[in-house]
Symmetry: C2
Subunit: 192 residues, 2 copies
Amino acid sequence: MENTAKKMDTPNAVNGVNVDELFGTINAIKNVPVIAKFKFRANNTWIDGGHNRTTIKNFYGTQQEHSRKTPFVLDADEPPILLGKDKGPNPVEYALTALAACVTTAIVYHAAAKGVTIRSMESRLEGDIDLQGFLGIRDDVPRGYKEIRMYVNIDADAPPEKLEEIVQLGPTYSPVFDTFTRAVPVSVQLER
Amino acid sequence: MENTAKKMDTPNAVNGVNVDELFGTINAIKNVPVIAKFKFRANNTWIDGGHNRTTIKNFYGTQQEHSRKTPFVLDADEPPILLGKDKGPNPVEYALTALAACVTTAIVYHAAAKGVTIRSMESRLEGDIDLQGFLGIRDDVPRGYKEIRMYVNIDADAPPEKLEEIVQLGPTYSPVFDTFTRAVPVSVQLER
């Protein structure tokens, strides 16, 4: 009894991830794969010019709806040089944010599953866009990122030669990395 | 002189976009294409578990560095069911935010260029992810979005049969739509 009580008080956490729950989730999904099917959602309202606002509140997963009490509110805008008023990051900066956060989380969760403790991690990202694409000046120039580079600085409880392997858990498992590097079907349609 | 003064006081704005400046930008780029080359950037710091923080401050474009006085700070986390503490939208929700903001802005700017006034615009997005991919349970399941759907509700100064055409300016010109639907090269490497 004492052991059980102790275990419940001090979860088996690595990198802030409860690995008992993580393996519990993995086993639950192996038994009932349909609980792994998630639907994530966003709502956007245009405000003015390059300024618009996204709210994030609900999602579906484990065969049920989930909702935060208060939505997350994210304003996007363009800087003045791109004819906006700089009231938020611009959309392609949000895209880098999504990538940075996702690769980081993939590293943290998968390192935790392997029992590797991460002491600190920082990263910097840079992506190239030629605005001739967006502006429709040249059709042979992609509208989006031509290339994105992410550099990860990590301090982990692992020998130096293992650090590259730990960093590569990010691109290997990150959903946003996969979304950017694979061609994902996206439909945009008029709501009737 | 009076005309000039008046014009400078009341910019030729459509949808909050100064179309004189927009066409000025397009013409400047046609003359000197290199000014259209932009580099967008993000910095991320891991905090704990699924919680990490991205800051957005600098970018390069028009052959010079640009910097905001204060960085934009964006926290990402996972909801409790995904073993986090819900301190921000999760990475794949940031990805939907980027897409929503970008398609919206592409519609607004390109409608402005065509002289089409938009009175209001809202959209909702939903994307499907099977977490068997992220968790490494099945290698034949994509880690990222299997599909994303965006529905746009728009009120514009255009006949109903033209609205679909206006909405399609979004996927046609949006850099984030292009980034998701084309396979973009992304490198993730250890900073040495």
